[in-house]
Amino acid sequence: MSAFRSAVITFPGSNCDRDMAVAVEQVCGGEVLRVWHGDAQLPDRLDFIALPGGFSYGDYLRSGAMAARSPIMQAVVEAANKGVPVLGVCNGFQVLTESGLLPGALLRNAGMNFVCREVSLTVENNQSLFTAGYSAGQQITIPVAHHDGNYFADAATLDRLEGEGRVAFRYAEEVNGSARQIAGVLNAAGNVLGMMPHPERMIEQAQGGSDGRALFESLVRGLVAA
């Protein structure tokens, strides 16, 4: 097997891109390529694409709305449709819903406040490419830092997501008003995950915990198995 080859996309206003690159480099190893939003093409032979957190385009219009229409996102959508694993964290999750790769939308937090703290999550689906390294029902601690994390979808969509095992993570406590306390969702094919909490900020004990590590380990193991 050749070395793990991944890309981290940077939009103007991204601020977790470096954290993401460091996490991928440390846990997945291999080559982490940095890609700018204005690029029309992705590097070839990618094993993984990450959309980082931040405030792309200053959250103008809606969080993630402008980024979802940037040149690189067309290439990301194409790659995702071909099965390349794509992870969107925080603003990256908002970009994924705005680009139509994931259903639903992220609204202003129900309490109106920016929430920045560690939260407890329950691993709902441990069969996915991103979560196979966790056990089902496992409680993990991952930080959140967002203003627009209130997951919304109509009842039929929520039922479908739950029925198809596409809720990857749920908040184990009230955080932002999200429908059915959903913290992370998968696409139908299972190769796209969007989540508000930041696994890349929980890679080693020096960061206060390492519960995010298994997500990146799962990706590498999934690739080896494939």
Binding site: E98, L107, G111, N150, F152
Partner: protein
């Protein structure tokens, strides 16, 4: 030609911003306001060649997120 696009949250979508504004209005000592919903208005200056269909496309694909929002297009008389 001026075109105004009004974007508002769909019924049933929680509007915490509207709720906060509502509280602030009550703080002014004014009562009798039953509900507040906040939206946005986007004003465009367009050439007459821009079609209604193109305006609809702009709204559906960018200005409004159809999962959570509705839009209304208002063409201003010249």
């Amino acid at each position: 030609m001026k075109v105004r696009v009004f974007v508002s949250l769909k019924n049933g979508v929680l509007d915490p911003q509207g709720r906060a504004i509502h509280h602030a209005i009550e703080g002014l000592g004014i009562h009798g306001v039953n509900d507040v919903r906040a939206g946005k208005m986007i004003e465009l200056d367009v050439e007459p060649s821009v079609t209604d269909e193109q305006l609809e496309t702009m709204c559906k694909q960018l200005l409004a997120n159809m999962v959570i929002e509705n839009y209304r297009i208002e063409r201003q008389a010249a």
